[in-house]
Amino acid sequence: MLETLQVNIPSWSDLGYWRPELTLLSTFLVALIGDLIVRGRRPWVPFTLALAGMLLALGFAVADLGEPAHTVMGSLIIVDGIASFFRILFLVAGLATVLFSWTSEEIMGVKREAKGEYYALLTLLTGGMCVMAEARDILMLFLSMELVGLTSYVLAGYMRTSLRSTEAAVKYVIFAAVSSGIMLYGLSLFYGLTGETTFVGIREALFANPPHPYALLVVVVLVLVGMGYKIAAVPFHHWAPDVYEGAPTPVTAIFSVGPKAAGFALMIRFFYTTLVAGPEAAGTSNLLRLVDWPLLIALLSAVTMTYGNLVALRQTNVKRMLAYSSIAHVGYILMGFLLLTSDGLQAILFYLLVYMLMNLGAFLFVVAINNHLRSEELTDYAGLGFRAPWLATMMFVFLISLTGLPPTAGFIGKFFLFKAVLAQEWYWLAILAGLNSVISLFYYMRVTKAMFFTEPAESDGAAAPLAIKPLEYVVLAALCIPTIGLGIWWGPVRDFADQAIARFNVGI
């Protein structure tokens, strides 16, 4: 057996293409040690370190944008267009969350211990998500998903003394572990079918020697369970509302965009590489037909968006309502996966970027309000339009963008998705998505109505203006301006997505 062993020693020079991830990982260690040195008494030390590390990583990621595709660590990791695109998305989301966590009472409140670990873990989470977008081997796929998962459980249960936070962590850990177990079983069967662990090797083996359709279907469904769980698609969504509601709100904000987008990045790379030979080959591939992939995804998408929207209708807690709305958005994004074409891929990338801006904005607004009201109930949002007019106006922008109304980025994102679906003549799905957008208008506007058209209660100063911190204004404005801007002038970001697709490498 030893004769067949081919040792593939990775070269150190590869690591130069992996500067953002290396920066994030070393920031994680430095922030942990820094926190130990100041004995947890000066939370600004780990905060500053995490912030500096993320900024540096973002700088590296932007500088590496034009690089051609490279593998790192032998065959485990690839840095190409898709990876560079998602790196930037994750780093922006991570930065916004780090900044906002500094203002959050839930994280920085007086009773909270171990504030330093929080920032270190956020850095590690961001790094893990970047690796998810770069995995090109089922081993790395599994390890990166677990890295993000393990970090997330700790962050979800970060408020150790809170019943809700610990309960969220328990539910997260149990559902995540079982779905990753199922996915690992699927991956092991993929390995059994092909004898390969790299995505490219799996594709070549599958095309050279097509397996029985049912065998392939079972394996694909098992792997979809793990990924569907990560993106919280129905029927693997049970954890999402509870975890989103129970976790500290800044953590929920990054959960709702980061690991979800990372799950999509992983799905893009895995399925575009193993089932078809990249976006251009989607029309001619036969493996898609073997498993009836379009129908599988269309059903998943239809059920996810309808369920998310219908249940969101009867929520009275804004955080929980946004959790269901984020499930519905996964349904919209899945429409882009129907035939694994480059149109669909472009729509997915654009929508994920837009979704990151608007959903992060909406959740961070909830953080800002929670700092003052200690509540996320819709009834307590009454009159916020008068008490914090600027913040409420920005929330209004995020909400109409989430609904998908012009002139916001959400409209353009939905337009691309609908275009991709209609081009493939899946009319019933497009009509269903349209109806769903109308339903979502109702519950998003309920928040607007509470904020602007309901008088605040007169009792004990409940109508007094809120003292919003400058940092909260800055971060929310930084998310709000592009949300409107991309609705009017979306060209540059569409080109950015196009370049990512053009440099999407499924060959090496």
Binding site: F142, Y153, I174, G195, E196
Partner: protein, 101 residues
């Protein structure tokens, strides 16, 4: 009787289904975590068996890594369960209902 690949796969399938069934039926969070370990074990057996069958070491490496991950997951899972047991005096998942609608 010679032990073939099929025997390993049947064993793995049975182990996986046992774990799955246990996860669905039992309500004690610690037992549920143990059932998940059974499912991971099943996947490891498949990987190791196919690794030998394909004469490729990739599967063996995968098994080693997945051991490490399973251990880390169990450590974090149990730590969280200890935390919730301190507050609730129970680890029955049916009684964790603070976050239900």
């Amino acid at each position: 009787m010679e032990i073939t690949l099929t025997h390993y796969l049947v064993l793995a399938t049975l182990l996986f289904l046992t774990g799955m069934l246990g996860f669905i039926v039992r309500r004690n969070a610690i037992v549920m975590l143990m059932c998940i370990e059974l499912m991971l074990c099943a996947a490891n057996i498949v990987l190791a068996a196919f690794s030998r069958w394909h004469l490729d070491l990739g599967g063996h490496v995968f098994v080693l890594m997945s051991f490490a991950v399973a251990a880390a997951e169990a450590a974090i899972g149990l730590a969280i369960l200890v935390e919730i047991y301190r507050r609730r005096r129970t680890v029955n998942v049916d009684e964790l209902t603070t976050l239900m609608e």
